[in-house]
């Protein structure tokens, strides 16, 4: 298994500002994922972050709005840039382990409110 922590756990931000969310894993993993979960909705994959390469973004998400860093095999950051109230959501990071099929471990999430 993997233990994942996220910082901050929650934040309230003003429109037009940016917030960087950190994700720390207790073991080295190749792939890390960032999801968004809007209130009452399912999870939507934002991007896949591999160490040593550019993140791969899903349709509807762009690097300028959600820049991602992956400096090593245990850490990643997601920045939500130039925020608007529509960005209010829970942001979750996850990792998968090499020997498991489609078994991902999720962090506790970061609850973001944009005023």
């Amino acid at each position: 298994s993997a233990v994942i922590s996220q910082k901050p756990s929650r934040d309230i931000c003003q429109r037009g500002t940016s917030l960087t969310i950190q994700c720390q894993v207790d073991s080295q993993v190749t792939m890390m994922f960032w999801y968004r979960q809007q209130p009452g909705q399912s999870l939507t994959l934002i991007a896949t972050a591999n160490q040593g390469s550019e993140a791969t973004y899903e349709s509807g998400f762009v690097i300028d709005k959600f820049p991602i860093s992956r400096p090593n095999l245990t850490f990643s950051t997601l920045t939500v840039s130039n925020m608007s109230p529509e960005d209010s959501s829970i942001y979750l990071c996850s990792v998968d382990l090499p020997k498991q099929h489609n078994e991902q471990f999720f962090g506790p999430g970061t609850r973001l409110t944009v005023l």
Binding site: L45, T48, S94, D96, N102, Q104, F106
Partner: protein, 109 residues
């Protein structure tokens, strides 16, 4: 990725067995069926995974018929703490995990 269809919501009572069925008519030969559980204010948690027939662990059982076009997650003797959203996913090792709408299970006293 095979599309999945599951009930939007279900209610049950404490002590009952709950069965949540997921349809995945377009499942591919190398796809696995995986279920996740998400409690309020938490990230999803892996529950169980199977390829065919029946799989059982300490949390649940997963029943998969021979044609694999559907699967049923079975939760024995549920309690209030089993109230959560349950997601059925289908894919292989190389697929990204894409979540559907899930089934919102509400356990009543």
């Amino acid at each position: 990725l095979a599309k999945t269809t599951q009930p939007i919501s279900m209610d049950s009572y404490e002590g009952q067995e709950v069965n949540i069925t997921c349809s995945h008519n377009n499942i591919a030969t190398n796809d696995y069926i995986t279920w996740y559980q998400q409690f309020p204010s938490q990230g999803p948690r892996f529950i169980i995974q199977g390829y065919k027939t029946k799989v059982t662990n300490e949390v649940a059982s997963l029943f998969i018929p021979a044609d694999r076009k559907s699967s049923t997650l079975s939760l024995p003797r549920v309690s209030l703490s089993d109230t959560a959203v349950y997601y059925c996913l289908v894919g292989n090792r190389d697929d990204k995990i894409i979540f559907g709408k899930g089934t919102r299970l509400h356990i009543l006293p």
